[in-house]
Amino acid sequence: MADPFKARNPFAPWDRRELPGMFDVEETARRVGHYKWAEMKLFEVLGGWIATVPEIDVKLRLGTHCYKHAWHAELWHNRLPELREMNPERLTCPPNDAMVRFVAALTEPEAPEMTIEKLVGVYRVFIPHFISAYTFHLNNTSQITDGPTSRSIKFILQDEFDDWRDGEMLIQSLLTTPAEVKRASEHQARLEILLIEAGGIAGPGTIGSADVE
């Protein structure tokens, strides 16, 4: 048996986590507040749409996914006070007016014939943007000082990938004619333009910049 009193390194050789991170406490709280706002808007619209879609398989998926995004919002709600934000409502906000316009356009479709638009908005625009925002955050935050945020993001990303796959498969099952494909892509483009204007879910810099500075 190994000597239990023999000195060991606090970081095992396979543990490559580092201290530096791109976000300080304040910036993390700002981003987390925007995530919470966006997740709230998403679970609300998913819940609202359930009664409006005639396709029963879509109805059931929307119900299931509604809860997942509510849970994400709850995780961020609980994280805010740990980031020195004692009034979580203060930071639960959109990053800018363009984001508000994006959510309004996303939420607009209601008619039972508009399931394609509803799903495209969520699964081809909003959720891919969540995945990129969370991935950027996870890869750039300090894995030691900001461990709780990283842990939440890992859980959330698992949901986002699962839901994206569910939604994409539903969309593919609904797109049966060239006209429907066109409808889907036009709606996607309309929403994507608004989200680009917003700079992403957390505003400009949501996924950093790929430009050489």
Partner: protein, 278 residues
Amino acid sequence: MRKFFPVEDLARDERFNQATNAERMADTRGTSNTGVIRKARSTNRLTPARPDATDAARSLMHGIMVGEIQALEGAGRTCFDFVTGEEAPFELKLDMARQCWDEARHVEISVKLSEWMGTELGQFVENTVLFAAACSQDPVLRLAGVNRALEGLAIDVFTTMKEFGELAGDPYLAFCEDWMLADEVTHVKMGSVWLRKITENDPERRAKALEFQSVVDKIFSYGGLRSESDESPILLARRFRELAGFSDGELSEIADVSLAALNERREALEKTFATSPA
């Protein structure tokens, strides 16, 4: 998308047929058909021994399925219709979102159980009273009408169906009903907790909500469908309702309303039998 979605616009595929509560209750294949068969036996409780048990159980399961769809839709609308913080607390909306997931699973379960029982989707009519109760402009009334009255009825229904499965030697049915029963107790408890919390300092609003709950309870006691009498197909499940936050006084009130509905139905039937030719 509009806030407050009207019941007439509920989206359904071509298989669904909607009808009023009275029309649905008049379906002779139904669980609630206490009138036509009441003279033939001493109890109307839904058991495998009833001669019409197959159709009655299928009808009830189909009713559960469409009820779960509407409960899903209602909880979803509560997530969307009210402004967070101003009109409905954030935590209440989280509970409603959780309920969406639970109800979606219940639809999945009841679709599979219906298939297991040999029923096709749309084989029985759907009445939309449940969603109508979820259309109130006050979230507290929705909690009272849906979470306490209708989900309370679901506790009674699932208890009866679980017993039906046990008596019929169908562990598949009893197993699923027991899981759904556990969720329903949670939903009713959510309703009880939020109703008390939100109306803590607003007795008028609380009274209004409880009155609405009572109205919904009465609608769903139609024809003596549910009571503590053996003449009702569905038994009032006191124990599970207690777990869900109903007080003794509330339970007695529901029992009284249910019994009154049963007596009303009995008198109407006796009158019909007395006047109809032999």
